[in-house]
Amino acid sequence: MCLAIPGRVLSTVGDDPLTRVARVDFGGIVKEINLAFTPEAEIGDYVLVHVGFAITVIDEAEAARVFEHLERIGEIEAELESGPAS
């Protein structure tokens, strides 16, 4: 029920913040999505969509963080393996 999927904003229509809509591309499927809750959304942004509404603009820098975190875990492991003896 709380499913929300990411899609890319292709174009936007309207000025009224409550009824502004976007055409959003979900890997080839394009749907019209309400932008009332993401007034900051612009063309090219990735938004997270739930029941026809964009509920957030995905933060690109934060999106990469999981992978940076993985890298760091990798470095810590490497350090532990090479250990104080080396």
Partner: protein, 367 residues
């Protein structure tokens, strides 16, 4: 799909699982709150990747599962009235009421329409001015702003033949109810990432302190869930109990202000019964006074107050994390998705359905 596929990388998942094994020293029990996370955990076998010290238990985050039986009965009654159209999210159609479900009501001639968005229901009302159109508004905080918008737009544009049958639920009161239960085993929570996308996570901070429980706001993909578990375990091992945000690509501390404003305008907090669990104070949303005219209960009479008799179904215990689906004697035998005894076997987010679908009846033996 960008922002999805990369979070399903099995090699990265294995590395995160290793990292968890590297930090864990003692046994810990962590609850994922959201049914969407439960589904991902069972589907991708995330629980099976974890070291034996870490137990994941499944939480109450399936709004479809906890909608009281009387609301289902009311929706069925409304659908059967001449001149009405009942609009609902697809998940609700097979949920058993006391005697029937919406799908059967439709087969019996009731006008039941599945909508993707609450605005689609409003559009149906606009196009059918001679009919009464009722939208069955269920969901958690993730869905509430969208449903609120349908009521807001109806009022703003003067669509008088539209109303909402509202059975919304709120997540934090359910977490408190679980923590205060004498049977509670939860030592840390993966908080529901999309609920927090709307609400932020400030309201969890006093909970983490008061109950000394780490709460990690977590996304829905395998790597998100594994990182959420990693952060929980690190806190537990260090004796910390804080709120952390794993899902920062979507969630900000104070949430989505525009969505919250819409919710507060249209809804008010009410007490709510949760199917299988019972009444939880201040745990739901109903329409605010200014929107009374759009309340389906005002137009079609109030919803009943009985508790469901779900027979041998132990969905309530499953929803509180006290039992896993394979521990139910009916699982996979008397209760299957074709012949469900309870909602958690029906809903695509229900824990019983997830185990049945991805683990099969064999999971009884494995547990």
């Amino acid at each position: 799909m960008k922002y999805r596929d990369e979070y399903r990388d099995p090699v990265a998942a294995a590395r995160l699982a290793e990292a968890i094994a590297g930090v864990v020293a003692r046994p810990w029990t962590i609850m994922e709150v959201c049914g969407g996370q439960t589904h991902a955990i069972v589907r991708y076998g995330i629980d099976q990747l974890l070291p034996p010290e870490v137990t994941l238990i499944h939480g109450p985050g399936c709004p479809v599962c906890v909608t009281p039986v009387d609301y289902i009965d009311k929706a069925i009654e409304i659908a059967g009235r001449p001149g009405t159209i009942l609009c609902s999210f697809g998940d609700m159609l097979r949920v058993p009421g006391s005697a029937s479900d919406l799908q059967s009501a439709r087969a019996g001639g009731g006008d039941v329409r599945v909508v993707y968005s609450p605005l689609d229901a409003l559009e149906i009302a606009r196009r059918n001015p001679e009919r009464e159109v009722v939208f069955f508004a269920v969901g958690f905080e993730t869905t509430a702003p969208a449903n609120a918008m349908a009521a807001f737009q109806a009022r703003r544009t003067g669509i008088a033949n539209f109303s909402l049958l509202v059975s919304h639920v709120l997540v934090p009161p359910a977490m408190i109810a679980i923590l205060e239960s004498p049977a509670n085993r939860v030592q840390a929570f993966l908080a529901a990432g999309h609920v927090c996308t709307i609400m932020g996570f400030e309201e969890y901070e006093p909970l983490a302190r008061r109950y000394r429980v780490p709460i990690v706001v977590t996304g829905f993909e395998p790597l998100d869930i594994l990182e959420g578990v990693y952060l929980c375990v690190r806190q537990l091992e260090a004796g910390r109990a804080e709120v952390e945000n794993q899902y920062a690509r979507s969630v900000q501390r104070s949430g989505n202000a525009a969505a919250q404003a819409m919710m507060t305008d249209v809804f008010r907090v009410v007490r709510r019964r949760w199917r299988g669990i019972g009444e939880i104070a201040e745990s739901g949303l109903g329409l605010a006074e200014a929107y009374r005219a759009y309340d389906a209960e005002e137009r079609f009479g109030p919803v009943g107050q009985r508790d469901a008799d779900d027979g041998e179904c132990i969905a309530g215990l499953v929803l509180c994390g006290e039992r896993k689906p394979p521990e139910c004697p009916a699982f996979g035998t008397r209760c299957t998705p074709e012949h469900p005894l309870g909602v958690t076997m029906v809903s695509s987010e229900g824990a019983c359905a997830a185990y049945y679908r991805y683990r099969g009846v064999a999971s009884v033996a494995a547990e």
